[in-house]
């Protein structure tokens, strides 16, 4: 899929847990959206989560940076436990980058301002330095020439690359991707995946909610399959795709792979 493929599908190089989720439950009203989630993510590990819509996969990663609140169990990110303590939440959000399905760039700011906003106000980096960092990451996602434009002037693929760069500017230890390519026109999916693959090759810890099976095969260390708020199956990509254990997984794979 890509020539600069990382040391793919090998075990994650370090053995240090960066995210630990223990016995985690969440309800939306009466609806049990996450049921007994246990997940440990090692540093530099790359995980792809898939599953039918409504299975709770987005909610799971949104719990990790507290866009959603879990009601039972524990979530520990980089040694900090997520509680109602606003200081802890802000600390964790600095460490965890997030990329959304609909990009969510700030339309009233230029691209470079979008990127520099977080570093300037959260990390208290001087403006000039923040903008230099911003340009560095824009070059990395091959979009530096658009720096002075506004998000509305860019294509979907370009906007999503900007969104990835915006997260990277905060120098996060973990990147969460919430269906990063599903709002894109088909011809723009590759440019975004390429950026994600090159990010993987640099050893970024990544949790990706996606149905891009090619991406999962080539980049993920583990693939998780979720249904009805549970992690139903969890395996290496090779095993997951070639030898799925559960009936539900088999059905799902047959439906998305045609």
């Amino acid at each position: 899929m890509n020539d600069k493929q990382p040391e793919t599908n090998e075990k994650a190089s370090s053995n240090e847990a960066i995210i630990e989720i223990i016995d985690m439950h969440k309800w939306f009203g009466e609806f049990h959206v996450l049921n007994n989630i246990n997940l440990t993510v090692q540093k530099q590990e790359r995980i792809v989560i898939c599953g039918p819509s409504g299975s709770g996969k987005s909610t799971l990663i949104r719990c990790i940076n507290r866009l959603e609140e879990h009601q039972r169990g524990r979530i520990i990110v980089d040694g900090i436990e997520l509680t109602n303590d606003i200081k802890n939440i802000e600390k964790i959000r600095m460490e965890v980058g997030m990329v959304f399905q609909h990009f969510n760039l700030f339309p009233h700011l230029t691209i470079v301002e979008n990127l520099a906003l977080g570093p300037i106000w959260v990390r208290k980096v001087p403006k000039k330095e923040a903008e230099e960092t911003a340009m560095h990451y824009l070059e990395k996602v091959h979009i530096a020439e658009q720096a002075k434009k506004y998000p509305g002037q860019l294509s979907g693929g370009q906007q999503q690359r900007v969104a990835i760069a915006r997260s990277l500017c905060m120098k996060p230890n973990v990147m969460l991707f919430d269906e990063p390519t599903s709002a894109l026109d088909p011809e723009m999916v590759k440019e975004v995946l390429d950026v994600m693959i090159s990010l993987a090759s640099e050893g970024m810890t990544m949790i990706v909610v996606s149905h891009e099976m090619g991406f999962a095969k080539s980049v993920a260390h583990r693939v998780l399959f979720m249904d009805f708020g549970r992690i139903v199956e969890e395996n290496t990509p090779v095993e997951f795709f070639e030898n799925p254990q559960h009936e539900r997984t088999k059905l799902f794979l047959s439906q998305i792979l045609h």
Binding site: G118, W121, Y150
Partner: protein
């Protein structure tokens, strides 16, 4: 060959004469159905009987510089009422020989407002200019320093009073309204309740009531010997009233923001204040520029209600002139003049808002 076909075709075929030019426009817009044709004819007839007679009244038979007595003899408009009384209309009871002071203060205010229109000028130096300008304006109006005679605020009136009430009323009401809107959206129940009660109470009461309360009821609660300036009380009433309306408009803008914007800002680690100030408000306030300006314009016109608590704003000074026997009966002329002043102010507000909207438009 293709070229050929295109040029000859376009030269040969022209639209029919009746669909272009003046005739085409008339036909398309004024006579495109029998109903519209009737409307057009009726309107033309109406204009035919009103416009020429108005022009004769206003410009042909009119008197521009004369005494009231001469005016009573003539048949046309008596514009003389304005030059003859302009200083009272504009400055009210401000001491006659010192009226250059409010004039200068107004010029300073309008100049500062005009300069502040351009967003490129929004720098620290402008803030200092405003502070200095406000100090000078206050000094000019109030006097008592640097050899200027002291003038009691009860003698302030006319256009300076109208501008004072509206400019400071509106600039104070806007941020207060934004804070109230944010408060109404707050997750903290106490803050939310206070804001909801405030907004609903104020909106449920006419401005006149608030002005009466500020002038009659409020002083009853003050300890004896302490008085608060009447203008200040009216000013406060206008601010509190306008803020409640602005709050509701801004709330509309806040609700129009997508959840994704909040989430993106939060996931970067921005706290509540930063999220609001840097991401949400700049967008939400931009969306609500048109309704906000509507409120500001109507609030500007509503300042004329201060007549009921006996403040001499520009409308009241004009009415006083009209009650002078020499000039009685020329209210149309005087009110047209006042209407023009109000129109210039309101029109420049809406003009500015349109420009601001264009400047801030990033969503291509």
């Amino acid at each position: 060959m293709n070229e050929d076909y295109r040029t000859t075709e376009s030269e040969k075929l022209k639209p029919p004469v009746t669909s272009v030019g003046v005739i085409g426009w008339l036909k398309g817009n004024l006579f495109n159905s029998w109903f519209n044709s009737v409307l057009t004819i009726v309107t033309l007839y109406f204009l035919w009987i009103t416009v020429p007679s108005f022009i004769r009244w206003a410009f042909v038979d009119s008197l521009w510089i004369s005494t009231g007595a001469e005016c009573h003899q003539a048949g046309g408009a008596c514009w003389s009422i304005i030059p003859a009384n302009i200083r009272f209309i504009l400055f009210g009871f401000f001491p006659y020989e010192s009226q250059w002071r409010p004039l200068l203060a107004m010029i300073l205010l309008v100049g500062l407002l005009y300069y502040s229109q351009n967003r490129n000028h929004w720098k620290k130096s402008l803030a200092y200019a405003w502070i200095l300008g406000l100090f000078i304006m206050g000094l000019l109006m109030k006097g008592g320093l640097f050899g200027l005679d002291s003038v009691e605020s009860t003698q302030w009136g006319g256009l300076p009073l109208t501008l004072l009430l509206s400019v400071f009323g509106l600039t104070a009401a806007y941020p207060l309204g934004v804070v109230l809107a944010l408060g109404r959206q707050s997750k903290m129940p106490a803050i939310k309740t206070v804001c909801v009660i405030y907004i609903e109470l104020i909106r449920g009461v006419p401005l006149i009531t608030l002005l009466f309360m500020s002038s009659v009821v409020f002083p009853l609660f003050l300890p004896e010997g302490i008085t608060v300036n009447k203008i200040l009380r009216a000013q406060a009433a206008i601010i509190l009233f306008t803020a409640a309306y602005i709050a509701e408009v801004v709330r509309g803008g806040l609700q129009g923001m997508s959840k994704g914007q909040y989430e993106a800002a939060e996931s970067l680690g921005l706290n509540y204040h930063q999220t609001m100030r840097l991401v949400i408000l700049p967008q939400a306030l931009k969306i609500v520029i048109p309704p906000t300006v509507s409120i500001l314009i109507s609030a500007f016109k509503d300042t004329s209600l201060v007549v009921i608590i006996a403040l001499y704003d520009i409308l009241k000074t004009t009415q006083s002139v009209l009650s002078d026997p020499k000039w009685m009966g020329f209210s149309a002329e005087a009110y047209i003049f006042i209407a023009l002043i109000y129109f210039v102010c309101c029109f420049s507000m809406s003009n500015y808002s349109r420009r601001l909207e264009k400047e801030l438009d990033r969503s291509l």
